[in-house]
């Protein structure tokens, strides 16, 4: 047995690595850029300012701080047209454009030259001085040709178009942008600085098209990066701020820079109390129900309870949740319970004793708890009934009855123990459920537990959090399976692992 457990635990390691890597790759390949979001929350000065040099610098620093300026893994698998230093490009949209361009045209040098020139065009906008242009642009009678507003509009438009060009690789879109910008620059001579850079960009674009070598994207290539990569640092720490997973550190959240560990600990007790309470209630209701209806098989009670349980089993959790809210937390019908949250912030006092807190929270817990409970309840009582019916057909039950044992003893001592297996299966799911949370139920009732946290992390692309959740849930699930398997053997001596 010990050997079996040791073997299983040993398999944990590669499995966990695989899960975390999968989560890692999934999150890194997401188009949403956390740096963009973070720097936007840091400085909300409007769209025009976003591309300024100062904000570029902050972004660059942020990427460095988060370790995003490194390759993802030890190596990458791509084509010959892929650039091996693409991860250094600060802007995720630009990186996507670059990679698509190099995929189409295959000549990385030309692609990068073109893109570089485009960004030169963009920076040349910042050298334009509105006052100066306004002063310079006069007709013979030194009347201004354009109003300041007009000049400003033209500059903004040109800037906007160039930005858009940096985010698309679609040839027809690019072509039309080139044409429209050409027209713009020939109409407004004060943009000559930009126009010069723009012409260079056009030349390099033509060059990129003429030097097209798209065959390169059909040749596979493996690029080796070495141990200076994001996954390595996540796993073993970077020797500075992060300690790495091997030392139990999951890193920092992108949203509020809190350590993931603290964040999870502060939320997990909520989901955990829900999952453990609901499983407890489910046991209390379903075990007697399952045994009784199996004992009275085909009786009226059995038939009705089977139908009810089956109906509940097919009922989607979110439907039940919304129905409960509609019925019991609706000002128009019954307002018995609060709609959302787990406590009333205006009344809640953190200095209360445990019992006072519990009493305050009880009404908040009831509706979610019903929703939580009913799903495992329906599953459990169905499976209990089938299991007990199966056991009642066995020879040893007949023997027990033949010995003259009382019905109570037959059921409680002989039948029950042998139908414990499904109970263990459900029990093994408690811990993964506590971390994985029930995203849907917690979203419906706005419970600030793990499920809601994960949902928000996904929507806000808080990747360290998601990777941590994947890894922890994976670990707990495997532990759960192992505990269940061991318990099977304990409950049923016929099961043995060699």
């Amino acid at each position: 047995m010990l050997k079996y457990i040791a073997k299983r635990v040993l398999i944990f390691i590669p499995t966990l690595l695989a899960i975390s890597l999968l989560a890692f790759i999934l999150n890194i390949s997401a188009p949403a850029d956390p740096v963009e979001k973070l720097s936007n929350t840091a400085d909300k000065e409007g769209a025009a300012n976003q591309q300024s040099n100062a904000s570029k610098k902050t972004k660059q620093d942020l990427r460095k701080k988060l370790g995003l300026d490194l390759p993802i893994f030890y190596f990458s698998f791509g084509s010959l047209s892929d650039c091996d230093t693409l991860y250094k490009v600060a802007d995720k949209d630009h990186a996507a454009t670059l990679s698509e361009l190099s995929h189409y045209y295959g000549n990385w040098e030309d692609v990068s030259a073109y893109f570089h020139q485009l960004s030169n065009v963009q920076t040349s906008h910042s050298s334009l001085d509105l006052e100066e242009i306004f002063m310079m642009n006069t007709d013979i009678d030194s009347n201004p040709l354009y109003s300041k507003n007009e000049i400003n509009d033209v500059i903004t438009q040109s800037n906007f178009e160039v930005n858009a060009m940096m985010e698309t690789a679609n040839p027809s879109v690019l072509e039309s942008k080139f044409n429209s910008l050409d027209e713009l620059y020939s109409n407004y001579s004060f943009l000559s600085v930009v126009k010069n850079e723009f012409d260079l960009a056009k030349v390099s674009y033509e060059k990129m098209l003429s030097q097209k070598s798209s065959w390169k994207s059909y040749v596979p290539q493996i690029i080796w990066y070495g141990s200076k990569n994001q996954y390595h640092f996540w796993l073993f720490g970077d020797g500075k701020l992060r300690k790495g997973l091997v030392r139990g550190d999951f890193g920092y959240s992108y949203i509020d820079s809190q350590p993931i560990n603290t964040k999870i600990w502060s939320k997990v007790w909520i989901s955990f109390s829900f999952s453990i309470l609901s499983v407890l209630f489910a046991y209390i209701i379903s075990i007697p129900l399952g045994i009784y209806s199996a004992y009275k098989k085909d009786s009226k009670f059995d038939r009705i309870s089977s139908i009810v349980v089956f109906v509940l089993y097919s009922m989607p959790g979110f439907f039940i949740g919304v129905l409960l809210l509609y019925t019991f937390a609706n000002p128009d019908t019954l307002r018995w319970f609060p709609i959302s949250g787990i406590q009333d912030p205006t009344l809640f006092n953190p200095d209360w004793s445990f019992w006072e807190k519990t009493a305050h929270r009880a009404p908040f817990f009831i509706l979610p708890l019903i929703t939580y409970t009913y799903s495992s309840f329906a599953f459990l009582s169905r499976i209990m009934r089938v299991g007990v019916i199966d056991v009642f057909g066995q020879d040893y039950i007949r023997t027990a009855r033949a010995k003259g044992l009382g019905e109570g003893k037959v059921v409680m001592k002989h039948a029950l123990r042998n139908s414990l297996l499904p109970i263990i299966t459900v029990f093994a799911n408690i811990f993964p459920l506590a971390i994985g949370g029930s995203v849907i139920i917690e979203t419906i009732f706005t419970i600030p537990g793990m499920g809601f946290e994960i949902y928000n992390s996904i929507l806000n692309s808080d990747y360290p959090m998601i990777v941590a959740v994947f890894t922890i849930v994976g670990f707990l699930t495997m532990i759960g399976y192992l505990v269940a398997d061991v318990l099977y053997a304990v409950v049923d001596p016929r099961i043995s692992y060699k």
């Binding site: 999934l26 698509e100 596979p220 097919s314 439907f319 919304v322 996904i458 994976g474």
Partner: protein, 439 residues
Amino acid sequence: MEQNNFSFKKYAWQQFKKNKSALISLYILVGLVFIALFAPIIANDQPLYCKYKGETFYPAFSTLVNSSKVDSVMNDAGVVEQLQFDITDWRKLDLESVVWAPIPYSPDKGDRYNREYVSPLDEQRYKNSDNEIVAIPSRLRHVMGTDKIGRDLASGLVHGTRISLLVGVLAMGIASIIGVFLGALAGFFGDRNLLMPRAKYIFTLIGVFLAFFYGFGVRKYTLANAFSEGNGLIELFISFLIIVAILVGLRLLSRLFKFGWLGKEVSVPIDTYISRGIEILNSIPRLILIITISAIFVRSIWLIMVIIGLTSWTGIARFTRAEFLRIRELEYIQAAKSLGYSNFRAVAKHALPNALAPVFVSIAFGVASAILIESSLSFLGIGVPDDVVTWGSLLNLGRQEFEAWWLVMFPGFAIFITITIYNLIGEGLRDALDPRLKS
């Protein structure tokens, strides 16, 4: 004589028919399929048939083929009147004769006079041809009410049926192809029985990399564009063909290297590979995985189906594996082997038909859970585009407005009934196909 005509299929069908609730569920399912197939005819704001100014039109059918169909009629005064079928308000026209769809509304168009959650029981408004706002004629009533922008719920439900059923069929189709294939491989060969020359082994491993490279890596932009334009499945199928072609090609190529070290036969621990893969996928919370993946890619209902399919094959694979583990020891497989039949023939012709019965059961239950997952996702508003009306997204609309009970009850019951009938059919199948499990 009776004995000779006995076939397992007939027997199973007889057994299935004995189960009343399963049989009724099957009838309801047929009804749902009917609704799904004919949704544009059942619920449409364009007439099925009409006669206008002496000309006959079939607007609902014409727009099925060409969504921006334009036609014109000659006025009495001799003026040509343009009719763009999907924009024209046919109710306003002075039609000579007309046949309307049973539900005269389209799911995506709001009724401007019945906005802001109009209850099916309340008074509904209508603007008649004299431009007066009056009570709605009973033919045009919104029998299940409307949502915030006046879209008809009944029409949304009818069109949502398509998506729900498609999710079930497509996701489970993908899942069962993967699951049966991998489960059969793992169960039939185990760790020791899949023997192949080293050259073939190496070439297959290389082939998997190359196949993914040419199937997905090279085509990633083609695929992404196709999914955002709505014909992603075709491109995905082409990718799949490329993968198969490369794998087969490399296997053929490996025959050239049948000498020395490369030609030696080794056993492939295929069972370990597949079982580990199943374990990894099972250890990841499925809903969170699906939400994460669908948050990454473009919002597309087809993509959701593919993702659900790609993540829910493990149950089927485990069932198939267990069945094959049992079957491969049976006499008829041993006989097939000793007769010198190829592995492929033994699996495909002899083992597979006998292993499929319990797999069908798990597919039926899988369809129910795929529908549940899709509706949960659209309930959370993830992955499904805003303009696609699904049961889950309708229910989500109801969650936001406490007075609109109809937006919760009707879609909720639609989901509930669909899941129930699939579960009942699954139970019926289990009892009919697998006598061992019958109590």
